[in-house]
C-alpha cells in the first residue's frame, strides 16, 4: 500500500499549492497529515522483520541474579583482591606520606593530605601478601567502616564490578585455615582470580596495626 504523501508534493514540504493550506497555515494542522502518520505506524511489516523479532522473543530470558553485590577490585603485588564498594569513599593518586614517629612501620606508613584532611595511610601488602617484595603503589583508596577511615596504598585498581553471590566460591583450605586469613571467598573476573576480603576482619587487622 502506498503511503499518502501529499505534504511532500503539494504541502509545505513541496510546492505549497494545496488548497487547504491558506486555512491551515501548516500541514501539521491537517487531518491528512495525522492520517499519514498513523499509516506509518500501522503499516504491515516485512516478513524478514517479523521473523527477526520472533527469534528474539523466543530466546531464553536472561535473568539477572537477585543477589548481585558491588565490589572494587584492586591489585596488591601480583594478587588481586576485592572489597565491597560500600566501604569505599574515594580513590585518588599517590601523594606524599609523612611518617609518624613511634608509630610508622611496615604496615602503617604515616599520614597524608586528602581533601584537606590528614588521613592514616596503610600499606596492605605485608598483611595481604606477606613475604612479597616491595611494591610500587600508584593509587590511594580511602576506605571507611563505622567512622574508622583508612587510606590503602595499592598498585592498580581494576574498577567497580557487580558479581553474583553465587559466583563466589569458598577460599581454598590453605588460605581459609591460616590464622591471619582475610579472604572469605574467591571468584573470577575475565581471566583473573580475585580474593574477596572480609571487611570486619580487614578493618580489625588494620586498626591493630596503628595502636601505640
Amino acid at each position: 500500500m502506498t503511503l499518502l504523501r501529499c505534504y511532500k508534493t503539494i504541502g509545505v514540504f513541496g510546492d505549497s499549492t494545496c488548497s487547504k493550506l491558506p486555512g491551515l497555515v501548516h500541514c501539521r494542522n491537517c487531518p491528512e497529515y495525522a492520517r499519514a502518520g498513523r499509516q506509518l505506524f500501522d503499516r504491515p511489516l516485512a516478513q524478514a522483520e517479523l521473523e527477526q523479532w520472533a527469534e528474539l522473543f523466543s530466546r531464553e530470558k536472561e535473568v539477572e541474579p537477585a543477589d548481585m553485590f558491588s565490589v572494587v577490585i584492586f591489585r596488591v603485588g601480583s594478587e588481586w583482591f576485592a572489597l565491597k564498594t560500600a566501604f569505599f569513599q574515594e580513590v585518588t593518586d599517590l601523594r606524599p606520606v609523612h611518617t609518624v614517629p613511634y608509630r610508622s612501620g611496615a604496615v602503617f606508613k604515616g599520614i597524608a593530605n586528602i581533601n584537606g584532611e590528614l588521613l592514616l595511610c596503610i600499606d596492605p601488602a605485608p598483611v595481604l601478601t606477606p613475604g612479597a617484595g616491595p611494591a610500587e603503589c600508584r593509587r590511594m583508596m580511602v576506605t571507611a567502616k563505622d567512622n574508622s577511615r583508612f587510606v590503602l596504598m595499592v598498585e592498580e585498581i581494576m574498577g567497580v564490578h557487580r558479581i553474583p553471590a553465587g559466583a563466589v566460591s569458598p577460599a581454598p583450605a590453605t588460605v581459609a585455615k591460616s590464622p591471619s586469613a582475610l579472604t572469605t571467598g574467591i571468584f573470577s573476573i575475565d581471566t583473573r582470580t580475585v580474593g574477596l576480603l572480609d571487611e570486619a576482619d580487614l578493618f580489625a587487622t588494620l586498626s591493630g596495626s596503628i595502636s601505640p
Partner: protein, 729 residues
C-alpha cells in the same frame, strides 16, 4: 523534641539568670518584661514536650515577674533568691542528657512542687529577706560529664554574619572556578592555529626542496609569519586572562579561609554566663558589697580559649571578692565607697588578647608577701630583700602559695593562681599581677588571639618537614662541626657564653640517625622552664603560620608530637610538642646513648679528606690549592700540635706534613700517629725541604708512607703521590 527543649531551656534560663541579677539593681518594666517572656516560653516548651512538673514552676515564676512588671510588686533580694533557685532547676535540666530529664523530674517532684508553692506565696506575702544560702541547689551539676557527649553532638554557635559571608565566598569561588571552562575552548582554538602554521611551514619546506622561485617562497614565508603573529597575539590574550583569573580565585580562597578561621571566635561575654550570679552569691556569703562590671563584652575570643578561661577567671574573681575587697565598714573607714568595684576586661592589644581582673580593694602588701616567701623557704632573706615588687608578685603564681590567713570555703588554699598561670602558659601566653597596697589589685593575662593558627618554624628532620611553635624556640643557630665541644662524651655548643647540650632531633623522635650532608650543624634551642637543649635538625625551612589539625585519635598520644598540619604546598607536617620533646630528651640522656654529631665523618664517604700540616703559610696555600683542584677536601693545621689536635676531633684519609715546625715537629707527630690505634691506618706523607737521604730514612722510619722532597716538588708529583696513597678524591 527534648533536644530542642534543652536548647530552649538553656537560652531562656541564661536570660533569666543574668536578668534577675541585674534586676536587683534596677527594676524598670522594660527590663522585667523579657524575663517574664522567658519564663513564659519555658512554660510553653515544657508543656509541649510533656514535662508537666516544670509547668507549674515556670507558671509561678511567670506570675511573679508579671506582677513586678506591672508595678504590683517590687522585687527584693528575697524574691530574686527564690526566682534564681527556681531558674536553677531549668539550668539543671539544660545540663543533663535528654534521657535523664524525665526520671530526674520524677525523683524531685516534691521539691519542684514546694518551690512552685513558695514562689506563688510570694505574690501575697513578703519573702524572708537576708542572706539566703544560695547553696540550696537540687543536685551537684553533672555538667562536666556531659561535656564530651555534647561535643560529639556537634552543636556549635557561629555568628550569623560569619555564616553569611562564608556563603558569599563559597558561591564566589564556584563562579570563578566555572569561569575557566571557556578558557579550555580558547586554548584549543589556539592549538589549531598553531597546527595550521606548522602545516604551512611544512609546505614551505617541501617547496624549498622542490625548488620554488624565491618570490613565491617569500610569499609563503610572509604568510607563515603572519599566522605566527596571530597565534602570538592570541597567546598574550590568554595569558592575561589567566593571570586575572588566578589573581581573583586566590583572593577569594584567602577570604574564605580567613572567614572560616574567624568563625572560631566568639564574643567574650559568651564565656561569662553565670558570672554575675556567682559574684552576687559570693558577695552575700562573704558579707561584701560588689559592683561587678564586664568590659569588652563583644571582644572576639577564640572559642577554645574561652572555654579554658572559665576556671582561671573563676579563681581570680573568687580571690578578689574573698581577699581583695574589704567589708563595707572597712571601706568606709578607709574613705572608699562601701561598694567594692570588680572589673573583668577583655581587649585586643598588639595582636594579643589581654584579659584583666581588677579590684579596688586592699591590694597586696609587699612586706607581708616578702615575709611569706622567706617563711616558705623559697629564697634566702638577703635574696628576698633584693627582689623587686614585680619579682615578688611572680611568687604568687607558684602552686600552694597563699597569703591568706585562713582557708575559707571560697579560697585560700593556694591553688587558684597556679591554675591561672598554667592555663596561660599552656596556650602560649603569660600572666602577671600588679598591686598597690590599700588601693587595689589587677591580674593581667596575655593570650594569643587564636589557638587554631600557630606561628611555627618549619625544619627538616630526617628529610621530612616538622614544625616548632615559635613561642617555644629560644634561638636558632648554625655552627661548624669544629665549634662543638664535648664533656664526658656529651656534645654541647655555646650560646650566649653558656653551654647548651645538643641532641639529634631524629634520635629524640625515635628515628634512625639522619644522614644529612653539609658541614654546618643547624640547632634550634628549646627549653621548658628548667632545661635548655639544642635540637639538631637537617636544615631550617622557614617560618609559616599553620592551621592546627588534631591527629586521628586512633594513633593515641604520640610522644613529642602535639598535632598535624598542612603546609602551603599541600604536604602534611607534624607539629612538635616542646614539653614532651624535652622530656624525651631527658630520658634519652639519662638512659640512652645520644648520637654523636659527626657530619665530617659522613662526608668522608663523599670526598677524601686531607690534612695539611705546615708552619709556612705559602706552602700550605699552594698545597691546598693543588689538592682542592683535584677535588679533595682539605683542612690545614699550623704546627704539629695543632695537627695532632685536629686529628683527634675529626677523621682524615691522609696527612701531609712538614718536618720542621714549632711546638711539635713532623717526625714526632708521625710517630704519634702511627702509635695511636685509631690513626695508625691513616696514610701519612712527609713533604720537606730536607731532602738528604738521612732525612728520608728518618721520616720513613717514623712511619711515614711516603717522603716527598720539596726539590722534586711539582704539582704532578704531589698529585700522583696522593693518588697513589689514597686514590682519587
Amino acid at each position: 523534641m527534648l533536644d530542642l527543649f534543652r536548647i530552649e531551656a538553656e537560652n531562656h534560663s541564661r536570660v533569666l539568670e543574668n536578668g534577675l541579677v541585674d534586676a536587683e539593681a534596677s527594676q524598670s518594666p522594660e527590663k522585667i518584661e523579657p524575663l517574664m517572656r522567658a519564663a513564659h516560653s519555658i512554660k510553653g516548651a515544657a508543656r509541649i514536650v510533656g514535662l508537666d512538673r516544670c509547668v507549674g514552676l515556670a507558671h509561678a515564676m511567670e506570675d511573679i515577674l508579671s506582677a513586678a512588671q506591672h508595678g504590683k510588686l517590687s522585687l527584693t533580694a528575697g524574691h530574686i533568691d527564690a526566682l534564681l533557685k527556681g531558674n536553677d532547676i531549668f539550668k539543671h535540666l539544660a545540663a543533663i542528657s535528654t534521657a535523664e530529664m524525665a526520671p530526674w523530674l520524677e525523683a524531685n517532684a516534691a521539691l519542684l512542687q514546694d518551690m512552685a508553692a513558695s514562689i506563688s506565696a510570694l505574690l501575697t506575702a513578703a519573702p524572708a529577706t537576708g542572706p539566703a544560702a544560695p547553696a540550696a541547689r537540687p543536685e551537684p551539676k553533672p555538667a562536666k560529664e556531659l561535656e564530651p557527649d555534647r561535643r560529639d553532638s556537634s552543636f556549635v554557635r557561629v555568628l550569623a554574619e560569619n555564616l553569611n559571608r562564608l556563603m558569599g565566598f563559597a558561591g564566589e569561588s564556584l563562579v570563578q572556578a566555572r569561569s575557566l571552562k571557556p578558557f579550555t575552548g580558547q586554548l584549543l582554538s589556539m592549538k589549531n592555529s598553531q597546527r595550521d602554521l606548522s602545516t604551512l611551514l611544512a609546505g614551505l619546506l617541501e617547496d624549498v626542496q622542490t625548488g620554488l622561485s624565491p618570490d613565491a617562497m617569500g610569499l609563503r614565508l610572509h604568510d607563515a609569519l603572519q599566522a605566527l603573529e596571530r597565534v602570538s597575539e592570541k597567546l598574550i590574550g590568554h595569558i592575561e586572562h589567566f593571570e586575572l583569573f588566578s589573581h581573583r580565585i586566590e583572593r577569594t580562597a584567602e577570604h574564605l579561609y580567613d572567614e572560616v578561621v574567624a568563625s572560631r571566635m566568639r564574643p567574650f561575654a559568651d564565656g561569662l554566663h553565670g558570672f554575675p550570679r556567682m559574684v552576687r552569691d559570693l558577695a552575700q556569703i562573704c558579707g561584701k558589697k560588689v559592683d561587678f562590671r564586664i568590659e569588652g563584652e563583644t571582644t572576639r575570643v577564640d572559642r577554645d580559649i574561652l572555654e579554658k578561661l572559665e576556671a582561671p577567671l573563676t579563681h581570680l574573681v573568687r580571690n578578689s571578692i574573698d581577699h581583695g575587697l574589704e567589708t563595707p565598714d572597712e571601706r568606709t573607714a578607709a574613705g572608699k565607697p562601701p561598694e567594692g568595684r570588680l572589673v573583668l576586661e577583655a581587649v585586643h592589644r598588639a595582636g594579643m588578647l589581654n584579659i584583666t581582673v581588677s579590684d579596688d580593694g586592699r591590694g597586696i602588701d609587699p612586706v607581708q608577701l616578702r615575709t611569706k616567701i622567706i617563711e616558705k623557704g623559697y629564697v634566702s632573706a638577703d635574696m628576698a630583700a633584693s627582689l623587686t615588687t614585680a619579682e615578688l608578685m611572680d611568687f604568687l603564681f607558684l602552686p600552694g602559695f597563699s597569703t591568706a590567713g585562713k582557708i575559707t570555703e571560697v579560697s585560700g588554699r593556694g591553688v587558684g593562681l597556679d591554675v591561672v598561670f598554667t592555663m596561660a602558659q599552656k596556650v602560649g601566653g603569660s600572666a602577671r599581677v600588679e598591686s598597690r597596697p590599700g588601693q587595689g589589685t589587677t591580674f593581667h593575662m596575655q593570650l594569643p588571639l587564636t589557638l587554631s593558627v600557630l606561628r611555627t618554624l618549619l625544619v627538616a628532620i630526617n628529610g621530612e618537614p616538622y614544625a616548632l611553635p615559635l613561642t617555644r624556640i629560644d634561638r636558632i643557630i648554625s655552627v661548624e662541626q669544629a665549634e662543638l665541644r664535648a664533656l664526658e662524651d656529651r656534645q654541647f655548643c655555646t650560646v650566649d657564653d653558656e653551654p647548651v647540650g645538643i641532641i639529634d632531633a631524629s634520635q629524640a623522635l625515635g628515628l634512625s640517625q639522619s644522614t644529612a650532608a653539609g658541614s654546618k650543624i643547624n640547632i634550634a634551642v628549646i627549653s621548658d622552664r628548667l632545661n635548655r637543649y639544642g635540637l639538631v635538625v637537617d636544615r631550617f625551612i622557614g617560618q609559616q603560620d599553620l592551621v592546627v589539625m588534631p591527629l586521628d585519635p586512633r594513633l593515641g598520644s604520640v610522644p613529642a608530637i602535639s598535632a598535624g598540619a598542612i603546609i602551603e604546598d599541600g604536604s602534611p607536617v607534624l607539629i612538635l610538642d616542646v614539653d614532651d620533646l624535652v622530656r624525651a630528651i631527658d630520658n634519652l640522656l639519662t638512659q640512652g646513648r645520644p648520637y654523636k654529631m659527626d657530619r665530617l665523618q659522613q662526608q668522608a664517604a663523599a670526598r677524601k679528606r686531607v690534612l695539611i700540616v705546615d708552619d709556612s703559610l705559602t706552602v700550605r696555600e699552594v698545597e691546598r690549592k693543588i689538592l682542592e683542584n683535584q677535588g679533595y677536601d682539605v683542612t690545614v693545621a699550623v704546627d704539629g700540635m695543632d695537627g695532632w689536635n685536629m686529628l683527634q676531633s675529626a677523621t682524615f684519609n691522609l696527612v701531609l706534613s712538614d718536618v720542621d715546625m714549632p711546638r711539635m715537629n713532623g717526625i714526632e707527630m708521625v710517630r704519634r700517629i702511627k702509635q695511636d690505634a685509631r690513626l695508625r691506618e691513616m696514610a701519612v706523607m712527609i713533604v720537606s725541604y730536607k731532602d738528604r737521604d738521612e732525612d728520608r730514612v728518618l721520616g720513613l722510619e717514623a712511619g711515614a708512607d711516603y717522603y716527598l722532597g720539596k726539590s722534586s716538588f711539582h704539582d704532578d708529583t704531589l698529585i700522583a703521590a696522593v693518588r697513589d696513597l689514597i686514590g682519587e678524591a
